[in-house]
């Protein structure tokens, strides 16, 4: 089979749409938990709804990744760089799942039904319990910071390839052919 140099249009669309969504979600999350402003109430409602959108997207993305061929990394990358790349990618996927799931579960543990854009409500997955709430609330915060760190590393590596190595890794996600 012919090796691909670029991600498919679907993969690229998912990647950039989710990058925008997830970074906005992280920044919104960090500011809304501190804010006493009038907009905070709507912000939390939107945060939950878009968080569920993110969950749906990551599931689609995982299926897409599993079904399609990803471009391989350039040969001259060291073993260490390869391990770092795959560890970061695994970590990013775990964070993408953990963030919305812990959000949903923390809400249920606090007796709150998760409603998406006022359109429909999700089922409650766990019992109401302050200890469960504490656990998932702390996971949500901790995972957010790990996620931010991984995103930082990911962008640094991508720009390193794009700006300094110019080895095609950056453009594999940036353009088609």
């Amino acid at each position: 089979m012919h090796a691909t140099k670029h991600y498919s249009a679907t993969s690229r669309l998912l990647h950039w749409a989710m990058a925008l969504l997830l970074i906005s979600m992280l920044f919104l999350g960090l500011s809304m938990v501190q804010s006493l402003a009038v907009w905070q109430v709507e912000a939390v409602a939107l945060h939950k709804s878009f968080g569920i959108v993110a969950l749906i997207l990551v599931i689609i993305r995982l299926i897409n990744t599993w079904r399609s061929v990803s471009p391989s990394l350039p040969n001259e990358l060291s073993q260490l760089q390869r391990i770092a790349a795959s560890a970061t990618h695994t970590g990013l996927y775990i964070s993408m799942l953990l963030m919305p799931l812990s959000g949903w579960l923390m809400q249920n543990a606090d007796g709150r039904v998760v409603n998406v854009f006022g359109l429909f409500s999700l089922p409650n997955l766990i019992a109401v319990d302050i200890r469960y709430f504490a656990f998932f609330r702390e996971v949500h915060a901790l995972a957010a910071w790990v996620f931010l760190l991984l995103i930082f590393m990911h962008i640094s590596a991508a720009l390193y390839h794009g700006l300094i190595k110019s080895d095609g890794v950056f453009s594999s996600m940036f353009k088609g052919r």
Binding site: F27, S31, V33, S35, W39, P74, D110, V113, L159, S166
Partner: protein, 361 residues
């Protein structure tokens, strides 16, 4: 991998290295910005709850209204409010609730009779779309209209950490700078604490919207009005730090305690977004139904201990006004709830002398 790469090129432009550094700097700075690292003028939920909890943290307990007692019973709706709201709880019929009587303050062992404010909270239909959480206080209005001013009010009222005394000059300076506190101070001057949790009046203070089936909205405030009068309840043990709780328990052992939920409908002259101004008594009042309290539990044993009575959890058929005080409550309650929840998870209250045995508060 036949693609020609430029990776062997000897010169990497300084410009490119700088572009990389600048990009990452921007990302890191943005993260810190949203995390509040450069905020030194806005009062945050964290700062607010820090102020409320004071210097001595009572692990596992609410940072405000730490002392309370769980109650439960039925809300017996008259159905009269269903003309204004589609919420199921207002349809004719009964809905079970759990509730909590409490006193203001961060100390879970404070003497009941010293507290300036008493409270009643309740929740119906938990873990459903019809959930409604309510937290009410004895004053009918706030002294100030914004969380920022409320923060300054608490600062002004806080006792000096060295002397343990309040600074009368600071307090009067604060109220002078805030003429909107007039109605609150008039109420305060005229208020005599009742002889029982069961005979106080508790107010929503903030206004909310009711939504009817046609999508029309109506701003309301409500008050829980006791059925019993002070003359009908047993006397208080003035010496006991738990006088109000003991008196309530003895009352409930005799018969249920009832409150009518009286809703006041705003008219176009009333500003529903300002919690410092009382609405005229000529406004239409509707009795939505009664809270019939039949049972009680200590807060370390009852479900109310682990409950976050966040007043922004509203059923379909109700919504929040833009009142800045109301809107600030969600983040602050969440912050207090997170702290005590995590302390409960980590069993920190066990090592805390005062909290001993008071899990899940």
């Amino acid at each position: 991998m036949t693609k020609t790469t430029r990776s062997n090129k000897p010169t990497i432009g300084v410009f490119r290295v700088c572009a990389l550094a600048v990009s990452m700097g921007v990302f890191a700075t943005a993260t810190l910005y949203f995390a509040g690292a450069f905020n030194d003028d806005q009062v945050t939920a964290q700062a607010f709850v820090d102020l409320q909890q004071g210097s001595k943290v009572h692990a596992g307990f609410r940072r405000a209204h730490a002392k309370g007692i769980c109650v439960s019973g039925n809300f017996e709706s008259t159905g009269l409010l269903s003309a204004y709201s589609t919420a199921n709880v207002f349809k004719l019929g009964n809905t079970p609730f759990i509730g909590r009587f409490s006193i203001a303050g961060n100390n879970p062992t404070a003497p009941d009779l010293k507290a300036p404010v008493r409270s009643l909270a309740f929740v119906v239909n938990t873990a459903t779309d019809d959930e409604w959480r309510v937290a009410m206080n004895t004053p009918p209005v706030m002294a100030v209209a914004t969380p920022d001013a409320f923060y300054k009010q608490l600062q002004a009222l806080a006792p000096n950490p060295e002397t343990g005394k309040r600074d009368a000059k600071k307090i009067s300076a604060f109220f002078k700078a805030h003429p909107e506190s007039k109605a609150f101070n008039e109420w305060k001057a005229s208020y005599t604490p009742a002889n029982s949790f069961a005979t106080e009046r508790y107010n929503s203070i903030n206004a909310f919207y009711l939504h009817d089936a046609q999508g029309k909205r109506q701003a309301v405030r409500w008050q829980a009005v006791p059925r019993m009068s002070d003359q009908e309840v047993a006397g208080l043990d003035q010496q006991s730090p738990d006088a109000l709780q003991q008196q309530l328990i003895s009352q409930l052992e005799k018969q249920p305690v009832r409150f009518d939920l009286m809703f006041t409908l705003a008219d176009s002259n009333d500003d529903e977004n300002n919690p410092t101004i009382p609405w005229p008594s000529s406004r239409q009042v509707i009795n939505a139904g009664s809270l019939v309290i039949a049972d009680w539990r200590f807060q370390n044993e009852g479900a109310c201990g682990a409950q976050n009575f966040d007043p922004l959890v509203l059923p379909k058929g109700m919504s929040a006004t833009a009142d800045p005080i109301l809107r600030a409550r969600g983040a602050a309650y969440a912050q207090s709830f997170r702290r005590r929840a995590t302390e409960t998870l980590l069993n920190q209250h066990i090592t805390d002398k005062e909290g001993a045995g008071d899990a899940r508060n």
